[in-house]
């Protein structure tokens, strides 16, 4: 049987000694997921704003579409993207398969529905008069949209954090379009999967621990930052 305690001890050693393979993987995971969230936020935010702030026919259908896309298995998306990025595929000329860009774009596509869905819910929870309020105080249409986004800040932040969590914890896309090439496209999940396969349990456990720590730390940070902000503005009494 797998020696859990021994594996844990070795894992602790790897983490403490700053094993370069280990931290290289952690760095790539953070980088790829982080950039993926930035991309998804850039193209997801305007879509979420359009859907939530405008009335049009089939609006609930569009929302339902994004909601159901959340459940798409990562391997299915990974396969589709593999075929798209493959040299024989429609975007093959870009030569992106098995590169960091493929993982970043793949993960950005993967998390776009979750980002949009959460953001729509957050924006729709804002008082519908908010946009008119900003406009009557002199805001242009863009400034008014930004005012609404600011009011939905918690939800907007949450949509980004949830997206990051999904990106960093997903395996299918990173594996299929990244190829888990050592030192180039191997990330936490693909490396955990491989090191489990090759019986390098200590390394797999260490990576697993770090994955949990990262996700936990980021979520805690966001909650704390929010609390601090509230404390800063509310906690201080007048004068």
């Amino acid at each position: 049987m797998v020696d859990l305690l021994g594996g844990l001890a070795k894992a602790g050693h790897l983490i403490i000694t700053g094993d370069p393979t280990l931290y290289g993987i952690v760095f790539r995971s953070l980088l790829f997921s982080g950039v993926a969230v930035i991309l998804a936020a850039l193209w997801g935010t305007p879509i979420a704003m359009l859907i939530s702030l405008r009335n049009f026919r089939g609006k609930s259908l569009v929302k339902g579409f994004f909601n159901s896309l959340i459940a798409i298995p990562t391997v299915v998306l990974g396969l589709v993207l593999f075929l798209v990025f493959s040299k024989g595929g429609p975007l093959g000329f870009l030569g992106l398969l098995y590169t960091p860009a493929a993982i970043i774009i793949g993960e950005a596509v993967l998390i776009t529905p979750i980002l949009i869905s959460i953001m729509i819910t957050a924006i729709e929870a804002v008082d519908p008069e908010m946009i008119n309020l900003a406009r009557t105080l002199g805001a242009s249409e863009s400034q008014a949209s930004i005012a609404v986004l600011k009011e939905a800040l918690n939800g907007v932040l949450f949509s980004n954090v949830a997206s990051f969590n999904r990106a960093i914890a997903e395996l299918g896309v990173a594996l299929m379009v990244g190829g888990n090439i050592a030192g180039l496209t191997d990330v936490l999940t693909t490396a955990i999967s491989r090191y489990t396969q090759t019986n390098d349990i200590a390394l797999a456990i260490a990576l697993g621990i770090l994955l949990m720590v990262i996700v936990f730390a980021i979520n805690t940070f966001v909650v704390l930052a929010h609390k601090l902000k509230v404390y800063y503005t509310v906690g201080r009494s007048p004068q």
Binding site: S140, V234, P238
Partner: protein, 353 residues
């Protein structure tokens, strides 16, 4: 007098529903114009049109002499501002809220503090800058909203039911603010209300609105002088009723509001009149009681609205009356929907319009 805003044959439809019909209206420099009408009569839409937040479906809208169109609306909109009926505040401090329009207008940051302090002084919220806006009481929140509009010193200030759902103290402050701003800053104000009293005291002119049309226009004295004819459509205005007045042997007047529902009034009147009872003047009890009040009715609570320190109740006694009680007595009396209650008011409390 020059007009700040002019509406010519303005109609507005939402989907298939007409909300404004051929409205012609001029708002003059320096006046207070009250739009008086029941809920749903089109007052809010008219204000949003004046705020340049919605464009007319047909007709012309001129602001400050310029015809409003898609290419100048964002610029012109900066010279008018609307305070909504439902208080809407941004997350953050009072300061953040009031500063919003200043930031948008790129007013230099070093002037903000002073301008904001001035605006807060006018609405009597001195020193409230750092308070979290959404944690203030309802009346204070509405005053923040007014300060946030005042600080912009727009040519036109629009107020949609600024005192509805407020306790008398806050309502009074706001009425004073309106008068001060108009008088001292010479700000033109358009005010929507369904409060007869407010319409009688504050404005220089009144426009009566019903079903999306302006039915009458003039000074308060003119409008209220011939109000009786139009008041039929004002049934939705709180505690305003139309009836037939008959003198009594005691020298008072009995007004028959129909179906034998009668209200005693001190003013001598005969014939078709309208009456109004201020909600503050109505006493609410759970049991019948002896008092000098001439008008006592038994009924049921049909609606309860929490206004913070006050509770607004609608009591159906054959006619629906709006009554205000303090939160404390509301709790002590353990009132609920459908509770049986008595309302009482003096004959001298009934205003004949």
């Amino acid at each position: 007098m020059s007009a700040i805003a002019e509406l010519e044959n303005v109609s507005k439809a939402f989907d298939a529903k007409m909300v404004l019909y051929n409205v012609n209206l001029q708002v003059y420099q320096g006046e207070i114009l009250a739009l008086l009408g029941p809920n749903g009569s089109g007052k809010s839409t008219l204000l949003k049109t004046l705020a340049l937040l919605t464009m007319p479906s047909s007709g012309q809208l001129k602001f400050n002499g310029e015809l409003v169109a898609a290419n100048n609306v964002e610029r012109l909109r900066q010279q008018t501002t609307l305070v909504f009926q439902k208080t809407t505040l941004f997350e953050g401090s009072v300061y953040d809220n009031v500063a919003y329009g200043l930031k948008i207008r790129k007013v230099p940051k070093n002037q903000h503090a002073e301008l904001i302090a001035q605006a807060l002084r006018i609405v009597r919220l001195e020193g409230f800058e750092k308070r979290q806006a959404k944690r203030l009481s309802g009346g204070e929140q509405q005053r923040v909203a007014i300060a946030r509009a005042l600080v912009l010193k727009t040519k036109l200030l629009l107020l949609d039911e600024p005192t509805t759902n407020l306790d008398p103290k806050n309502a009074q402050i706001i009425e004073e603010v309106i008068a001060t701003v108009n008088h001292e800053l010479e700000t033109t104000i358009v005010l929507a209300t369904h409060n007869m009293f407010q319409a009688q005291t504050l404005p220089s002119r009144i426009a009566l609105i019903s079903n999306g049309k302006i039915t009458q226009m003039g000074t308060p004295a003119e409008v209220f002088g011939k109000l009786s004819k139009n008041l039929a459509s004002f049934a939705a205005v709180d505690n305003t009723f139309k009836g037939n007045a008959m003198p009594t042997l005691e020298g008072t007047t009995m007004v028959d509001l129909g179906n034998g529902f009668r209200v005693e009034v001190t003013e001598p009147k005969i014939g078709e009149i309208s009456v109004f009872v201020s909600p503050q003047d109505i006493i609410l009890t759970k049991t019948p009681f002896q008092s000098s009040a001439r008008n006592v009715f038994k009924g049921k609570i049909v609606e309860i609205a929490d206004l913070g320190s006050l509770v607004k109740l609608k009591v159906d006694v054959g006619r629906v009356f709006t009554v205000q009680v303090t939160k404390r007595s509301f709790k002590e009396m353990t009132l609920n929907l459908d509770s049986e209650v008595y309302i009482a008011f003096k004959a001298s409390s009934v205003n004949v319009l």
